[in-house]
């Protein structure tokens, strides 16, 4: 578990005091809104549809129970009793008052948390695989590198005024659970033939108005060069990224307009200037950071292999949950647990203050005090002994948090949409709720199998609809909400942008449309083990287009 060092404590304390001063000067009139707005954005304070919104950083989605309790307290004392987990592993509060934000930041600072660089044209939260440090399939834990990038990017004086926001994601496994190829920089840890650690470096991915998949700029970057190379990429972006047009300002556009070879050449030339200097990361320095992420003192589970199986055969709900909501751990006697924040009919990714406290208690009791937030808006306990699973499940069941839908149709991503967001054109949460209720039957979801539905309320794609197996984009058509459906998107190592199938659907029609797509898949799949995305790649659009629109 990461232990914050002096860097963070002083940094956060100073920044909180600074923002407290800025708020005071805004309220007293010494700062106008025009002057204040960029300052509040650098501290994650938005003005949204109904109120201010505060986006708190959860570095690479990792937090402990003390931090989760502080988030619960903020929700309870300063907000309306809940928070929302985002597709960048952060948390959002929808109703903070500006006058209270300094006090909120003080509470966050007490557990080394903050809201810095969660908005604005700067490097944002570095995200990572939510099973980092636990998954059996990872080459190495990506979090130390995410932390190194975080320290480097926090208040980096050269990159405080980028052409636009900049997002980085890191995965430690070949199976990409961090959506690295739809990030500005995506990093995959790997070993070369000599067994040394390094990165595949992908640049120029992103969703939004112009979805693009990242391109490979380096097949193997030695770990020692991680910061120097990242600095080179950022410098090239900062120098050449467009500042004339907000919609063409991301590095993905720069790459698209410049071309891969030329941009790579620029990056490599800059890297030659930067490398072998102060940004070099010697092995022992990386080791020093890795020590902060040392695995917990795992407690051996009693080696009764039947214990869990017996409980599963006696409790069908537990059996279903076990099947879906546990993930293989590097230790045989442990698993990672997904606490689905997608209960039937609920807003995806929301947690009440009481639920946050409850999760904190579970993490302290059964999870070695470690919690993760996934970019799919779920909560993860990365380390749980198998022998504790039934007790944990029973506790979750009692709180309505044992929905056994991880990776199934009910496990949807939805942005806040027009119910909350000033940028939105349509509502997304009611669509998720309606789909969730239509497909509530857990046996039906199990039959359908792996399915990722992702819903955005506008083209900014915070709901990741471009990379949903089924993507739903809400638009405004002559004052009415209309929902466009895309098919075949994927955010893993086979990243793909979904293709729009045809004309959009009303709020009433889109749930039926999803049902027709699902039924079509079920009717044409080769077997129960051919999942939706595999079947789609085999048969293409036509059967699905026909199901939705007839033989037009």
């Amino acid at each position: 578990m990461y232990r914050y060092d002096e860097f963070d404590h002083e940094f956060v304390a100073h920044r909180t005091a600074q923002f407290r001063g800025q708020v005071a000067r805004r309220l007293s009139g010494d700062l106008s809104e025009d002057q204040f707005k960029p300052l509040r954005l650098m501290n994650g304070v938005y003005l949204q549809l109904h109120a201010y919104m505060l986006r708190v950083a959860i570095p690479y989605g990792t937090l402990n129970s003390a931090q989760m309790r502080v988030l619960a307290g903020i929700a309870r004392d300063f907000d309306r009793g809940y928070g929302h987990f985002t597709t960048r592993q952060n948390i959002q509060f929808n109703w903070p008052k500006l006058v209270d934000i300094p006090a909120i930041l003080d509470r966050l600072a007490s557990v080394e948390m903050h809201a810095i660089q969660t908005s604005g044209n700067c490097i944002r939260n570095v995200t990572a695989d939510h099973f980092a440090g636990a998954a059996g399939d990872e080459v190495a834990d990506p979090r130390p590198y995410a932390e190194i990038l975080r320290q480097w990017s926090s208040l980096h004086p050269e990159f405080t005024y980028l052409p636009r926001k900049f997002k980085v994601a890191v995965t430690g496994a070949e199976h990409d659970r961090a959506a690295i190829r739809v990030h500005d920089i995506g990093l995959r840890l790997k070993r070369n033939d000599e067994g040394e650690l390094g990165f595949e470096v992908w640049v120029g991915g992103g969703q939004g108005r112009t979805p693009l998949i990242a391109r490979l700029v380096r097949d193997f970057l030695p770990e020692a060069d991680l910061l120097a190379y990242s600095e080179a990429i950022l410098r090239v972006y900062n120098r050449y990224g467009r500042r004339d047009n907000k919609y063409k300002a991301r590095i993905k556009i720069l790459l698209h307009e410049t071309g891969l070879d030329e941009l790579k050449a620029e990056i490599e030339a800059e890297f030659e200037d930067v490398r072998n200097g102060v940004l070099t990361l010697p092995r022992d320095e990386i080791g020093r950071i890795e020590a902060y992420f040392a695995a917990p003192a795992f407690v051996d589970g009693p080696t009764d292999p039947d214990l869990v199986a017996k409980a599963a055969s006696a409790d069908r709900g537990f059996a279903l949950w076990l099947e879906r909501n546990t993930h293989a751990h590097k230790r045989d006697d442990h698993v990672s647990v997904t606490i689905s924040m997608k209960p039937v009919g609920g807003p995806p990714g929301d947690a009440t203050a009481d639920e946050m406290d409850f999760i904190a208690d579970l993490a302290a009791g059964y999870g070695y005090d470690e919690i993760r937030i996934s970019h799919e808006q779920n909560v993860i306990l990365p380390h749980v002994r198998k022998t504790d699973l039934y007790v944990l499940y029973s506790a979750l069941e009692g709180e309505g948090l044992a929905t056994a839908n991880a990776g199934l149709l009910g496990d949807m991503i939805a942005c806040p949409g027009l119910d909350y967001c000033a940028l939105a054109n349509a509502r997304s949460i009611p669509i998720a709720q309606a789909i969730s209720e239509r497909f509530a039957d857990p046996d039906r979801q199990k039959l359908i199998g792996d399915m990722k539905i992702k819903i955005s309320g506008c083209i900014n794609a915070c709901g990741h609809h471009h990379v949903g197996h089924i993507g739903i984009l809400g638009v405004d058509r002559k004052g009415d909400e209309l929902y466009q459906i895309t098919l075949g998107g994927s955010a893993d190592e086979n990243t793909a942008i979904g293709k729009i199938l045809g004309r959009g659907f009303s709020e009433e029609g889109v749930v039926d449309a999803v049902e027709r797509l699902v039924e079509t898949y079920l009717s044409l799949r080769e077997s129960e083990t051919e999942d939706f995305i595999t079947a789609y790649r085999r048969v293409g659009d036509d059967p699905f287009k026909e199901a939705l629109y007839g033989a037009d």
Binding site: L27, P96, L98, V99, V344, T352, A440, P442
Partner: protein, 105 residues
Amino acid sequence: MQIITANRLDSGLVVFRTEDGGWSTEIADARIVDGDEAIEAALEASAEDVRARIIVDPYGVPVVLEAGAPVPVRLRERIRAQGPTVAYAVPATALADRPGSRRAA
């Protein structure tokens, strides 16, 4: 036909300009403003309240009258006036008990 809306600086809450030039969180209290000149005047008066640090970002919202009360023409403005159309802070246990939804068997 419009009403003037803004956000309070201190709380961020959505407010509407009332008959007496104050700001209410209730759209029913909003003063109806008709015609370009009147709207312009109302916006100018609102700019004063921006300078006085009461509100930020005032603007006019086209409305229709329904049973005498102003209702925004645009969905976005209706949601902004009335709040999210979805319930929030509902415990998962309460969701599961709603008709039509089912917990894992």
